[in-house]
Amino acid sequence: MKQYAYYPGCSLESLGKSYHLSTLEVAARLGIEFKELEDWNCCGATAYFPVDELLAYTLSARNLAIAEKTGLKDFVAPCSACFKNAYTTNKYLNSDPDLAEHINYALEEDNLHVAGTMQVRHLIEVFVEDIGLDAIKEKVTYPLNNLKVAPYYGCQLVRPRKGNENVENPRYFEELLSALGAEPIEFESKTRCCGGSLIVTNRAAALDMVEKLLQDAVNSHAQIIATTCPMCTVNLEVYQSQVNREFHTNYSIPIVYFTQLMGTSFGCTPKRLGINKEIIPRALEKSQVEAV
């Protein structure tokens, strides 16, 4: 059984709990194991960088150091913000010995040392690249036929750029959805920012960004939006009702984690996926264009 060092991140312990549950459930079905890091700390999301750059990298480096101690190869984060922070920290640890030295000096206080040897991956990459679409397809017992899904990549899963991958029009999320029997829609806003990091500090801007995304999803005939990040989910979901209040709209488009769709197509029980069992049947019945 292939094992991965798993860094859930703070959101998955609270608002994103259903992402955590569905991730573990789907992993078990696919025969892989996510081993949660011991005593991990918050990666700081987007809030450390305005305060101190070195601190931001050091806090992510502590998690990487803990992961290195497990002897496993891959560091997996389901949250796009955690992923981006760990990825860039790891990259700079490798490219800047000075930075690495500073960080290691600080980490001595916790008897840790970071070498920058982990491969930092986002959860969806593990499923698409390591498990592969064919193996996933084999597990599908309840294909999500006719379900029109907007694949929402968001920002920090695809950006900043890592190599020469297609950052303007990635396709792997669509391919994964097709493997589950669903119908991915052409979603123009799929990599547009949801404003998650601004929801507290600049609420008007954030709600506007959420509204534009919801509008595009609905106009593109999506019945449901699938996400790869707890921050995006909370933003699109929790603030949907506030968007309705403020923009006098009537959106009621469900937001689910891609792992919940995977699990549903594998026949996992809704409870184990942290999903309301009516969401998908209801989404199938409802054409969102008529609803708004």
Partner: protein, 187 residues
């Protein structure tokens, strides 16, 4: 007389890890502004801010809300033909303004970032609803959680922790942080 240190260099120096950021190579093409999802809420567009930095208009840059309105989406960054990491530059401006305690009146960002860091230094973990509730007077932490749970039917067995658990080695973590930043008293 002291030689004046251009503001573009000052900001460049605030980017330790991404020190290859060639702000002065900006072509003023406007691709970043055309891409930015938050532009309507900025006093000056990203293109303009870079132009202002290069023109050494330090005070005007710092007193604008532009960099505190950046959502860190990196969309401008991946599109800039001059290879400038504009999102990182916005972070650098935030850091500089925090350091100098100089920012436009009425912004929540600086205070929020500081509270966030304090929360993490105290517990090792973060819990956004609590912080959000402090700044969104109409909502309490439990209201935000409730809305999240009911919005589209997230269901849980077992109750949720309203406060983050402390990590086990929090003292060590605080000492790690102390080697980077002077800390006030932590509780």
């Amino acid at each position: 007389m002291a030689v004046e240190y251009p503001f573009s260099k000052v900001i460049g120096d605030m980017m330790y890890a991404s020190h290859q950021n060639p702000i002065t190579d900006c072509l003023q093409c406007g691709t970043c502004s055309g891409t930015c999802p938050a532009i309507e809420y900025m006093d000056f567009s990203p293109r303009k801010i870079i132009g202002m930095i290069r023109a050494n208009l330090k005070e005007d840059v710092l007193s604008s809300n532009t960099y505190w309105s950046c959502a860190s989406c990196y969309h401008c960054t991946v599109r800039c033909p001059a290879g400038i990491d504009i999102a990182e530059m916005m972070y650098a401006l935030k850091r500089y303004s925090m350091w100098k305690s100089q920012f436009k009146e009425g912004l929540i960002g600086p205070d929020f970032s500081e509270s966030f860091v304090k929360m993490i230094v105290n517990s090792g973990r973060s819990y956004e609803p609590i912080l959000a509730a402090t700044y969104l007077p109409k909502y309490s932490a439990s209201a935000i959680v409730q809305e999240a749970l009911t919005a589209s039917g997230l269901v849980f067995s077992g109750k949720m922790n309203l406060f983050p658990k402390k990590i086990k080695r929090i003292k060590n973590l605080q000492n790690v942080v102390r080697r980077i930043l002077p800390l006030g008293e932590t509780s």
